[in-house]
Subunit: 359 residues, 2 copies
């Protein structure tokens, strides 16, 4: 099986080294890697000057997309699937925006579209979910889906400033140079969209959902939260209630003994409430070169093993709501924290967090 | 696809109801259920008077074994596999004792042998592990693998007596009437044997490993442990270091912030340390009718989907050791607790627990 890789950054280089380390008996060979011209020096004969050399090549079976972004990645994935190649991607932006199109194209062309690494890094949360939806009913999906914000909140809880914690995360290689999408919750919204689409058959367009991040959090807020015996986490939640999909992406106050409180630093945790199986949770590295690349190799194994490809449920288009009206909120304004019922109005807060209900 | 069920107790009845609730499009039909004669009344036409009516039947494709125990279950599984039927079991005793034989028989006959529910109840810990070993190197396996003892320790931490907590667990249906195998750690040893065999290719014979349980724990011990800022959990751990497999099954003292401390009541948590993927943990219901039965239906889905059957690595026979010499222990004698380096001698304790090293 011959594979091509689009993008030779942190993830792409991880994929190449893991592919090259596979036992020879697996018969997998990386034949082309596309990136900007200056990468030719390191890549040598593997270097491809054009993405088409991979997406349209006759001798490539599987394309790894590790470039990120929307427009060009979308174009490449469509070309690759349409020309009969399986595609494996870690790109949550492109997957969440073109979920229906990619899976339909893969089915039409009898190939795989796999995106385990687009949510939860090295955690097999999509594999587990696709398998569970075959046999059980999912009633609730929630979790800590962003390593950068979880790392910042953990380190701020230990006394670091926001800026220092963010810098450390960037040095360690799991926060982007521009971490806006992480900090404001857009990254998390993309991930919970993908999980919702798989769990419930929705095709969530994420301009339907507001996201609120941790930019307003201060060390004083974290101290006050701790003094209340609570923990602050950036949480995404998605529940399908009848015809309404309730989605939230916001900071949340949890009891210290809550399962999610056990996920610190850059770790992620994904929780599925299932009708037969009860609560099922997965925990692991949500970001980083080798966790992400190894999740993509896990996808490759499914192709090698000839396992059944995932086909999403027929699309449903529920109304989209949130938990605002039914929740209590922890609201900070002028350095004072109060608890209110229902979401505070714009201008009435400098920071807020939803208070997670106890089961 | 026609299925037969051996055993119509808690698990077997759960399997039957989940099979009957599957969408008709899956084409799965339960045709025979074997149990003692008095079950004929409830089972009606489904009742099979002999296990052979299922294991040797021409028209059955998949056999669910939900009887428990070793000798008769072993006989039935061998018959079923040898006559070309796939077998799905939740029976950790029989799987841990005949691991090599069952998987070899399945391979010879081109059928599946699947045992997800034998470890961790509804947690897909075997599926995740078999997939991870294809692409990564596992360096350490540990976790809370017994719901009954975890429930007892949780409730005793809230002030209940051992006896009252055990009775509640039995009432709730996840502790056996004779809970000796749970309380003394034999159940956990069976489960960590299965996980070790899959993770490392070992064929652990569990008379090679000592197991120590929670029979000696008292409310006073739990109070003292809490006053030290620690949590007491029943933990199994297995690490392959060169040619030596270190296995332990014993109570362990953990920091309150340790990941395993987040698993309370009857919940289980399984942790895999992986070379590429880092730490991966799975959490869920370790016992109970529907979690266990749904894990067995998950196995059935693998057969229906035609996914690749798991074949264990070629067997290795490492020397077997433990963590005794390198660990500190919390040792209780005459109501006094002390910390010693190395395992205390027989007669030098009324209860002990290993102190988990920090990473």
């Amino acid at each position: 099986m011959k594979v091509g890789i689009l993008g030779y950054g942190t993830i792409g280089s991880g994929i190449l080294s893991l592919v090259q380390a596979l036992p020879q008996s697996y018969g997998v060979k990386a034949v082309k890697v596309f990136d900007l011209p200056h990468k030719k020096e390191v890549l040598g004969d593997l270097f491809a000057a054009s993405a088409d050399d991979i997406c349209l090549a006759d001798d490539i079976d599987v394309v790894f997309e590790a470039m990120g972004g929307d427009k060009f990645a979308h174009e490449c994935i469509v070309k690759a699937l349409s020309s009969g190649k399986s595609v494996i991607t870690s790109n949550k932006e492109v997957v969440s925006k073109h979920f229906e199109e990619f899976f339909a194209l893969a089915q039409q062309n009898g190939v795989y579209f796999l995106c385990e690494a687009s949510v939860g890094g090295g955690i097999p949360c999509i594999r587990t979910l696709t398998h569970q939806v075959e046999l059980d009913t999912i009633t609730n999906v929630y979790g800590i889906l962003n390593g950068t914000t979880n790392f910042i909140l953990t380190r701020m809880g230990e006394g670091q400033t926001f800026e220092a914690a963010l810098k450390t995360a960037q040095k360690l290689g799991f926060a982007e140079a521009d971490a806006t999408a992480d900090i404001e919750g857009l990254d998390v919204l993309r991930k919970i969209s993908i999980l919702s689409n798989i769990a419930y058959g929705t095709r969530l367009s994420y301009d339907q959902v507001k996201h609120y991040g941790i930019a307003g959090v201060t060390e004083a807020v974290l101290k006050d939260v701790a003094s209340r015996g609570k923990v602050l986490k950036m949480v995404a939640q998605s529940t399908l209630v009848g015809d309404c999909l309730k989605v939230s992406v916001e900071p949340v106050l949890l009891d210290k003994t809550h399962l999610l409180a056990a996920a610190a630093d850059e770790y992620n945790m994904v929780v599925y409430d299932c009708k037969s199986n009860g609560t099922l949770a997965l925990y692991g590295k949500g970001a980083g070169r080798y966790p992400t690349a190894s999740a993509m190799i896990a996808d490759l194994m499914d192709i090698l093993d000839g396992n059944k490809a995932f086909v999403p449920k027929a699309p449903i288009a529920p109304t989209v709501g949130n938990f605002d009206a039914e929740s209590d909120f922890y609201v900070v304004k002028d350095g004072n924290a109060t608890i209110t019922h229902g979401l505070p109005q714009d201008g009435d807060y400098t920071f807020y967090a939803r208070i997670m209900k106890e089961d």
